[in-house]
C-alpha cells in the first residue's frame, strides 16, 4: 500500500499520540512532542497545493462497517483548518515546554496526561477535518468532543466540574447530530456526500427544517452559539495554560467547520434560505444570522464583567465565533471570506492573548484582574504580545482582525442588513471595552508590591508568543496570503471568494489594501512621534507618586483603578444580565432531578405485583378494544 500525504499526516499524528503515551513519563517529553507537531506541520505544508486549489487528497484507508463505507480525504477547507490547528498545537506545545511544565508538575499537575490529551486533541481534530462522509464526520466529531473533555479535565478540581458540564452539553450536541444523521440516512439511504446532495433536493421543507435545527444546534453547541454557550467559558478557562490557549484558538472552530460542511455544502445556503418561519419575514438563514449577532453581543458583554483574565478571554472567544458565522451565512464573497479569515485571525489573537495571560500567571500566580497591574515595566514583551493581540481582536488596524471584520461589515452593508451591522458594531464596542480592561488591569496602572521582583516570562514561553504576534501583524499587513487559502476553501463548499491582492481584496464597491492602510497608519505614528519628541522633554515621575482625588496617599497604599471597572456602564446595562440562560439550565437540571426522583419512586414501591397486574389489564384491554 502506498501512503498518500494524508496518510502520512495521520500516521505522524497517531505516532505523536503514541510517543506522548509511552514516553510521556520521561524527560523532555514536551520538546519531543513539539518537534513531532512540527513534523506534522511539515507534512501538511507538503500538501500546500491544497491551499491554492489543488485536488483533494484521499486517504488510502477506507473501511466498510455494517454496510457503511467510511473514507477520509483532505481538501482546501480541511487544509486551512488543519493549518491553524497544527500551528496552534506547535506553538502552544512549545509554550508548555520547560518552565511551564516544571511549575505545572510542582503544583501537582499530570504532565504526561496533559501532553497525551493535547496530542489526542490534535489527532482527533485531524481525523475530523479529514472526514470524507457524514459518518466519518460524526466519528471525528465525537472523538474531538471526548478528547477535549480529557484535556479540560486534566487539571482536576474546578476544571473537572467544568469538563463534566462541557461533556453534557457536548453529548446533547452529539446526540442531536446523531439524530440528524439517522434522519439523513433514512432519507438518502447512505451517508456519502454525493447521495445526500441528491436526497436534499427531494426533501420536504419540514424535513429540511428538522435537519437544519438538529445539525445547527448540534454543531452550534461546540461553537458556543447562543442558547448553548454556558459551558464554554469555564471549560476553556480552567484548562491548564497551553491547553487553554490551544482549545481557545481552535476547538470551537471545529463546530464552524462542520457547519460549513453540512449546512453550507450539503444543504446549501439556497435551500436554507427557502426555509421560512411561518407568519414572520425571517427564514432559517436570518435566524442563523441573528443567532450569530446575539452570540457576538451577549457573551462579549458578559466578558466585560469578568474579573479573571482567563474567563474574560474565554467569554470573549464565544463572541468572536459569532463574527465568523455571521460572515459565512451572508454567503456573499466578501462576508464568507471575512468569516473564514476570521477563524485564522482570531485563532492567532486568542492564542497570543491567552499565552500572555498565562505567562503573567506563570510569573505572578494570579489571573485575577484586581490583583494585577503595572506589569508593563516588568514584562514588556508580554505586554507587547498582549497589545498586538487585543488590537487584533478588537478589529483595529494594523492587525489582522481588522481585515476580517472589515470584510464582514462591508458585506453586511452591501447586502443591506443595517440591523445586523448595528449589532456587530455594538459587539465590537464591547470587545474594545473589555480588551481594554484586560490590558489596563494587567499591565497598566501601578505595580503591586508583591510583583516588584517579577521577571519577564522565560524564552520557552516568549518565543511562541512573539511568533504569534508576528503572525498577527504579518497577516494584517499581507492578508492576501491567507485570503488565497480562504478563497480555495470557499470553493470547496460551493461559495466564491473575492478578488485577492497581496494587500487585501479588489472589489468593485471598494477595495482594501492593507499595505496602504498600514503605511498611512505608521506615517501617522511617525508624525505623532516627531511631534512628541520635538515638544521638549517630558517629566518622569515614580510610579508610586500617587495623587488621587486631591489626597496625597502614602507610598505603600497602591491606587489601582481596577476593582469595579466600568461601574457606570455596568450600572447602565445591569438589567440585561438576568442570568436567564443560567436559569434555563438550572431548571432543566431540576426537571431531570424531579423526573428521576419519580422514577426511583416507581421502583421503590413496596407493591411491584400491582404493576404486573395493571400492565396485564391495560395491554389486554388494548387488544380487546
Amino acid at each position: 500500500m502506498i501512503f498518500s500525504l494524508l496518510d502520512e499526516l495521520l500516521i505522524f499524528s497517531a505516532a505523536t499520540v503514541l510517543v506522548a503515551l509511552i514516553l510521556g513519563r520521561g524527560l523532555a517529553v514536551g520538546w519531543m512532542v513539539t518537534i513531532l507537531y512540527g513534523g506534522q506541520l511539515l507534512v501538511l505544508l507538503k500538501m500546500a497545493a491544497l491551499g491554492y486549489g489543488g485536488n483533494p487528497i484521499a486517504s488510502e484507508l477506507s473501511l466498510s462497517v455494517m454496510g457503511q463505507d467510511l473514507s477520509w480525504r483532505f481538501d482546501a477547507l480541511s487544509w486551512f483548518f488543519a493549518l491553524i490547528t497544527l500551528v496552534a498545537a506547535l506553538l502552544t506545545s512549545w509554550f508548555s515546554c520547560g518552565e511551564w511544565e516544571r511549575k505545572f508538575k510542582q503544583q501537582g499537575g499530570n504532565v504526561w496526561l496533559f501532553h497525551l490529551a493535547m496530542a489526542l486533541n490534535v489527532f482527533t481534530m485531524l481525523i475530523l477535518l479529514a472526514s470524507g462522509d457524514l459518518l466519518s464526520l460524526f466519528i471525528g466529531w465525537e472523538l474531538v468532543s471526548w478528547a477535549g473533555f480529557l484535556l479540560m479535565a486534566v487539571a482536576g478540581g474546578v476544571a473537572t466540574n467544568a469538563a463534566i458540564r462541557y461533556i453534557t452539553y457536548a453529548v446533547v450536541g452529539g446526540m442531536s447530530i446523531f439524530g440528524g444523521i439517522a434522519l439523513v440516512y433514512a432519507a438518502a439511504g447512505s451517508l456519502q456526500y454525493e447521495a445526500i446532495l441528491i436526497a436534499v433536493e427531494k426533501m420536504s421543507t419540514g424535513q429540511l427544517w428538522m435537519l437544519v435545527l438538529l445539525f445547527g444546534s448540534g454543531f452550534g453547541i461546540k461553537m458556543g452559539l447562543l442558547p448553548f454557550h454556558l459551558w464554554q467559558a469555564a471549560a476553556y478557562a480552567e484548562t491548564p495554560g497551553p491547553g487553554s490557549a490551544f482549545l481557545g484558538a481552535i476547538s470551537s472552530r471545529m463546530g464552524l467547520f462542520a457547519i460549513l460542511l453540512v449546512l453550507v455544502k450539503l444543504f446549501g445556503i439556497v435551500n436554507i434560505d427557502s426555509l421560512k418561519i411561518p407568519f414572520t419575514l425571517i427564514d432559517a438563514r436570518d435566524l442563523l444570522a441573528w443567532i450569530a449577532v446575539f452570540t457576538i453581543i451577549f457573551p462579549t458583554y458578559t466578558a466585560l464583567k469578568q474579573n479573571d483574565a482567563r474567563y474574560l478571554l474565554a467569554w470573549h472567544g464565544i463572541g468572536q465565533g459569532g463574527y465568523m458565522l455571521l460572515g459565512l451565512v451572508t454567503a456573499n464573497s466578501l462576508g464568507a471570506a471575512g468569516g473564514l479569515l476570521h477563524v485564522l485571525n482570531y485563532a492567532a489573537c486568542q492564542a497570543a492573548l491567552l499565552m500572555a495571560v498565562f505567562a503573567v500567571m506563570h510569573r505572578t500566580g494570579a489571573a485575577d484582574l484586581n490583583k494585577l497591574g503595572g506589569l508593563v515595566t516588568r514584562m514588556p514583551l508580554s505586554f507587547l504580545v498582549l497589545l498586538t493581540g487585543i488590537i487584533g481582536l478588537a478589529g483595529l488596524p494594523p492587525m489582522n482582525g481588522f481585515v476580517s471584520k472589515w470584510l464582514v461589515y462591508r458585506s453586511l452593508l452591501e447586502d443591506g442588513m443595517p440591523l445586523l451591522f448595528l449589532g456587530t458594531i455594538i459587539g465590537t464596542l464591547g470587545t474594545i471595552l473589555s480588551v481594554y480592561k484586560l490590558i489596563h488591569n494587567m499591565f497598566l496602572g501601578q505595580l503591586r508590591v508583591e510583583h516588584e521582583h517579577v521577571r519577564e516570562a522565560p524564552w520557552s514561553m516568549m518565543t511562541p508568543m512573539l511568533i504569534l504576534a508576528g503572525v498577527i501583524f504579518v497577516t494584517g499587513l499581507l492578508p492576501g496570503i491567507p485570503l488565497t487559502w480562504v478563497a480555495a476553501a470557499l470553493q470547496t463548499i460551493g461559495l466564491t471568494g473575492p478578488e485577492i491582492t497581496l494587500g487585501g481584496i479588489e472589489s468593485s464597491s471598494g477595495s482594501l489594501d492593507m499595505i496602504w492602510v498600514i503605511g498611512v497608519l505608521f506615517a501617522g505614528f511617525g508624525i505623532g512621534a516627531v511631534i512628541f519628541y520635538s515638544a521638549g522633554p517630558s517629566k518622569r515621575v515614580h510610579q508610586l507618586d500617587n495623587y488621587a482625588g486631591g489626597h496625597f496617599l502614602t507610598a505603600d497604599v497602591r491606587y489601582q483603578y481596577s476593582d469595579n471597572f466600568y461601574s457606570g456602564l455596568m450600572h447602565l446595562i445591569r438589567g440585561w444580565y438576568r442570568g436567564s440562560f443560567q436559569w434555563l439550565e438550572n431548571s432543566i437540571t431540576s426537571l431531570v432531578e424531579f423526573l428521576s426522583l419519580g422514577m426511583q419512586g416507581i421502583y421503590r414501591r413496596a407493591n411491584s405485583e400491582f404493576y404486573l397486574l395493571s400492565t396485564a389489564l391495560f395491554i389486554i384491554a388494548w387488544v380487546v378494544f
Binding site: I297, F298, T302, Y311, N607
Partner: protein
Amino acid sequence: MIPGVTLELILYTTALGLVIIGLAGVVLSSHLFRMVLALVIAEAGANLMLVLSGYRWDAVAPILLQRAEQPTMVDPVPQAMVLTAIVIGVGIQALAVSILIRIRQRYGNLKRRDVAEKMDAEIAASAGIRRDISQDAPLGERPLSPLPAHTAESRGGDA
C-alpha cells in the same frame, strides 16, 4: 340445569376465577405468607386451565387397555405438562416458605411494607449510604454543578 351452562364453561370460569383470586390475593395481601398462599391458588387455576385445554367431553382417560377397539381419549400432552407444572409449583412453594422462615427470623415480622422498608434500609446501610440523608434528598452534586464560589464570583452571571 340452566341452558347454556356447560361443563366447560364451569371449568374455565373456575380456572380463571382461581387465577384472578390468586392474582388479587398477591397484590392485596399485606402479609407475606398470604402471598404464598395466593400464588399457590393462582397456580392451581393455571393448571386447571392447562388440563382443560386438552379435555374432550366424549373421551376416556389416556390409558390403553387390552381391547380390540380403543375409544377416543383425552389429549395426554397437557396432562403431562400439568404433572410437570404441579411439581414445579410445589418446589417453588417450598423455597418460598423457607425464605419466609428466614425473613421472619431476621426481620421479626412478615408485613409486606415493613419487610420492604427494612430491606431498603439494609441495602442502603450495607452500601454505606448515610442514613441521615434520606433517599429523597438532593444528591448535593449536580452533573452541571454551579462552579464553586470563588470562580462563580469572577465568572459572574451571564446575559
